[in-house]
């Protein structure tokens, strides 16, 4: 008999041991999603080969400064697969140079992509996947049912505005994405999708997660947006949706093979000020480069991601990283950036934050002011999460399988960004 199990939320590859290095290859995208935090998407800023090559040379020739055991070479946009030709060239160069330099990362690297999935089936993308099959991880973003997906994930207008900025149309993208899901899952059966929830999406959470499960996606990584978009009563509606989702997952037995990141045994506990003082976000331990060759502690600090602050540039591909500008990121801890209400919070664990959003929303130009826009949403999530685990454990108890489950349970720590 197979071991009785509950599917855990999958940790990222080499989590905690890898350097995440992101190429912002383009700031263009076919879509103009209404919740997208990239407020400055445009058709003009595309990375050149020269910029990419100079950046790769800088990173690989400074091995002493990048001692992490592994590396994830991340490609992001806009929509990265709009630049598949450039990406293919960069990846080939990375492989050759890592090998040629006897770089320790040749033994432990991945190419990672977050895509809208629209170009997934094209021969260029497929040929690239085939060539790098053992080192690729691809996440396609699909938000759930057609209705929920098309609420936000719409095509952009065919023409940009006078500043080259993209504008949303009314045409949803669900059908253009869902057609590629079977191919994607046949190539990456364990792949997960990323779902983003803003205020208008709350009524569709349950049906969307179940819809994604029905498409064969076993891992649904879902989060509420960090921005201050929440309306009065959203927390109650959110809690209700999550409880309905909990019922559906437990009553339908989905929990054995499918995971939804909303539900985790590790959230909703108080945190010790000494022991649990680490930063949530990985900004500063990551590195991003854009088309201009500027370096950022995370893509969220590039200008196209920021509503109200100036880009926080930590260097460039010619001069390298200004280590002094990284110091605040690498010394940032939970206590220093959190307001008292967060330190006193009895359900603090699992309450996430985004350093870029914190910076963007802060009263002053600092990364040390934690935004608490998701406070009520986190508390609602905790209540529903408690309900989920209490209900699930009772079910296992009644089935006489609780002890067996607890014995086989894997200790999964919450993922940092």
């Amino acid at each position: 008999m197979d071991l009785y199990k509950i599917k855990d939320n999958e940790p990222a590859w080499q989590s905690g041991m890898s350097k995440n290095i992101t190429f912002i290859v383009t700031k263009d995208c076919q879509l103009a999603c209404k919740y997208c935090y990239l407020v400055g998407k445009n058709v003009k800023e595309r990375m050149s080969w020269e910029t990419a090559k100079t950046f790769v040379d800088y990173v690989l020739e400074h091995e002493d400064e990048f001692r992490e055991e592994s590396v994830v070479w991340d490609f992001i946009g806009g929509e990265p697969f709009l630049e598949i030709e450039l990406i293919d060239k960069i990846c080939d160069y990375l492989k050759l140079r890592m090998f040629e330099l006897n770089h320790h990362w040749f033994n432990s690297y991945r190419f990672s992509f977050s895509t809208n999935g629209i170009n997934y089936h094209t021969s260029e993308v497929q040929s690239f996947i085939k060539k790098n099959r053992e080192h690729i991880s691809i996440g396609i973003t699909i938000d759930g049912t057609e209705k929920k997906h098309d609420l936000n994930r719409v095509w952009k207008q065919p023409t940009a505005d006078a500043n080259g900025l993209t504008q949303p149309s009314e045409r949803g993208s669900y059908k253009d994405v869902v057609k590629n899901i079977p191919l994607w899952l046949s190539q990456f059966p364990d792949a997960g999708t990323k779902v983003t929830i803003s205020s208008a999406d709350i009524p569709y959470i349950k049906e969307s997660v179940l819809h994604l499960y029905s498409l064969g996606i076993h891992q649904v990584n879902i989060n509420v947006v960090f921005e201050d978009v929440w309306q009065e009563g959203d927390d109650a509606r959110f809690e209700e949706q999550l409880m309905e989702l909990a019922d559906a997952i437990i009553d339908g037995g989905w929990y054995q093979d499918y995971a939804c990141s909303f539900f985790s045994e590790h959230i909703g506990k108080s945190l010790d000020p000494e022991r649990d003082n680490q930063n949530w976000c990985g900004a500063g331990r990551m590195l991003s480069v854009d088309a201009a060759g500027n370096l950022y502690p995370c893509t969220r600090f590039a200008q196209y991601s920021l509503r109200s602050k100036k880009a926080l540039i930590i260097g460039n591909i010619k001069d390298g990283i200004n280590e002094n500008l990284l110091r605040p990121f690498l010394t940032l801890d939970r206590i220093t950036q959190s307001p008292q209400k967060c330190l006193d919070c009895e359900v603090a664990s699992g309450c996430a934050w985004c350093q870029g959003e914190n910076y963007d929303a802060a009263q002053t130009n600092t990364i040390y002011e934690r935004s608490t826009a998701i406070c009520l949403m986190h508390k609602a999530r905790v209540r529903a999460n408690n309900y989920y685990w209490n209900k699930l454990y009772r079910k296992l108890e009644l089935e006489g399988r609780r002890e067996e489950f607890e014995k086989n349970e894997r200790d999964v720590k919450p993922e940092i960004c």
């Binding site: 492989k95 050759l96 090998f99 040749f106 033994n107 432990s108 060539k131 080192h135």
Partner: protein
């Protein structure tokens, strides 16, 4: 069918994981590297041979050390997360 037949230490697990990763890296590098880049091509060929040997030596050495159960039509697999060894048939 898979049956758990043993366990290695985290250090041993890390060793074979590195060799596994390197072998995959070399295989994918071989798809883009052509003999006209002579020096690098020779380096690749040599490395593929050496890595393959180290890879096989690891399994031989561990099998001897831990005396895992085997079967004529089966092969061993390792779970890099748990360091468990499985016999797969």
């Amino acid at each position: 069918m898979k049956e758990k037949v043993g366990q290695v230490t985290p250090e041993e697990c890390s060793e074979i994981q590195q060799l596994f990763e390197r072998r995959n890296g070399l295989n994918e590098l071989a798809k883009i590297l052509t003999p006209d880049n002579d020096a690098l091509y020779q380096k690749l060929v040599k490395d593929m041979g050496e890595t393959g040997t180290k890879f096989q030596n690891w399994w031989d050495h561990m099998a001897q050390k831990y005396n895992w159960k085997s079967s004529p039509n089966g092969h061993w697999e390792i779970n890099f997360d748990t360091c468990e060894i499985f016999l797969s048939e």
